[in-house]
């Protein structure tokens, strides 16, 4: 199931990452290497720093110590154009979708490629329609976000992120805000992305999904990577008591 190319340079390389909110240290020294094509699920209790870690990778959160490189480039907050270049490489899907309410679905997807990559209107429209078809929403091109269900909105959000052709996709609890019956349609799209070789980092509570789709699972506890391994090993044979406790609390 692994599409990871173990001999390519790391897609994301993190060493010694520390981040505090004021006096509260949320990430206490993260070391992590993500290979291109790897699918990583990040699990843990709320407050363990999972989302914060994800948001550091595309620069939505700044960190105080350590080093973070994406596609070989180290993060540099002082350089806005470097940050924008980073965000063309790394896409993000949010728990609350964050679609632009005043734009149609099609325009939501086309906005960034048109402005940032300066593609022509026809190019962006063609790509938008392709991506919408890919996530199963071809007929919703002219609809507005408030006319769509949660699951549909999240799939549009995925299409919107994909329109920038990122190499890495960050998924921050993307099904947590969805009604249970809508979760499946979104996970199906993510699974197909994984199969195509997209590098994925997902913070998720969907353990079955993580088990099925990911190459590696990372359990975070109190701001550190507490345990990690392949899903089969991690879920059936948790080594540390904290992970054992976490997994049992889910049943």
């Amino acid at each position: 199931m692994s599409n990871a190319n173990l001999f390519a340079p790391a897609a994301v390389a993190i060493s010694g990452l520390r981040k505090s909110f004021g006096i509260n240290e949320v990430l206490k020294g993260i070391d992590l290497n993500v290979q291109p094509g790897e699918v990583i699920a990040i699990i843990g209790k709320s407050g363990s720093g999972k989302s914060t870690l994800l948001r550091c990778i595309n620069g939505l959160e700044t960190f105080q110590h350590g080093r973070l490189t994406v596609q070989g480039h180290a993060l540099d907050y002082s350089d806005p154009s470097a940050m924008r270049a980073l965000r063309q490489q790394v896409g993000m899907i949010f728990q609350s979708f964050n679609l632009f309410p005043h734009l149609t679905v099609g325009k939501n997807i086309q906005l960034a490629p048109g402005l940032v990559k300066q593609l022509s209107v026809t190019e962006t429209e063609t790509k938008a329609r392709q991506l919408l078809a890919r996530v199963g929403l071809a007929e919703k091109y002219d609809a507005f976000p408030d006319q769509l269900s949660g699951g549909q909105q999240q799939r549009v959000a995925i299409a919107r992120a994909l329109a920038m052709s990122p190499g890495i996709l960050l998924c921050d609890e993307i099904t947590s805000a969805l009604d249970p019956e809508l979760v499946g349609e979104v996970l199906a799209v993510v699974e197909s992305l994984a199969k195509e070789g997209m590098t994925l980092l997902m913070v998720t509570h969907e353990m079955n999904f993580a088990r099925k789709v990911s190459n590696r699972v990372i359990f975070m506890h109190q701001g550190l990577v507490h345990e990690q391994g392949t899903p089969d090993v991690l879920f059936t044979n948790p080594q540390t008591p904290e992970l054992q406790q976490f997994l049992s609390s889910l049943h």
């Binding site: 790394v90 993000m92 609350s96 632009f100 005043h102 906005l111 960034a112 402005l115």
Partner: protein, 223 residues
């Protein structure tokens, strides 16, 4: 004692009234567009722009909001010539109205911008949009939509305030009413008619601007 009111004497002067209405609407239209644009610019400076500009913009906004419009108008029309800048009554009126509306719009639009959900900005950032692109395409349209009723109210206020411009001989509606009553001495009737016209204008303008906002300005539909 019978009160004799002669409205006919006023209504026969309808060409003057029409001209007055045209001027009032014209002044309002120009000031509305330029004033709101100025307000958006000021709001941008205060929320996103260079911090060295901000005290200046804040001072401008507070000065205009805490002084009467008539004083602002008189300052431009009577005061500036002493400094060598001589403006016609019409240009003074437009300038005063733009400066006035700009200050109030700045506050209104700023409130709209500051009520943008943070998720919208994060999504735009994650899509690699620049700050200016985010402001124009993601922040501003929904912000304007949220504050549109307040902006329309402010435009109406400026339109009604333009009545004062007749005092410096701008030929808008109140000037027309004054002219009529100076001819036929029917002051009360003239001003009743003018007031009724103003009332109609304010209702009609509000309805039109509300419709315009829905239709054209926001790139999308909103309930």
């Amino acid at each position: 004692m019978a009160i004799e009111l002669d409205f006919a004497a006023v209504l026969t002067e309808w060409p003057l009234l029409v001209k007055g209405v045209a001027w009032t609407l014209g002044l309002t239209a120009v000031s509305a567009v330029l004033g709101v644009l100025l307000g958006i610019g000021c709001a941008w400076v205060r929320t996103q722009g260079a911090s060295w500009c901000r005290p200046g913009v804040a001072a401008y906004v507070e000065l205009i909001r805490n002084t009467p419009f008539i004083v602002q108008l008189f300052f431009l029309f009577f005061g500036l010539p002493a400094m060598g800048v001589r403006l016609s009554p019409e240009w003074s009126s437009v300038l005063a109205m733009v400066i006035n509306l700009g200050a109030y719009s700045a506050e209104i639009v700023r409130a709209g911008i500051q009520s943008t959900p943070s998720g919208q900005i994060e999504a735009a950032m994650s899509l690699a949009l620049t700050r200016m692109q985010t402001f124009i395409w993601v922040i501003l349209p929904p912000a304007l939509q949220r504050v549109w009723p307040a902006l329309v109210s402010q435009i109406i206020i400026v339109m009604l305030g333009s009545a004062v411009c007749g005092q410096i001989s701008t030929e808008e509606l109140s000037y027309a009413a004054n002219l009529i009553q100076s001819r036929n001495f029917r002051a009360f009737e003239a001003f009743i008619v003018a007031t009724a016209i103003y009332l109609t204008l304010s209702i009609a303008t509000r309805a039109s601007l509300d419709w315009l906002g829905q239709r054209f300005l926001f790139g999308g539909r909103r309930g």
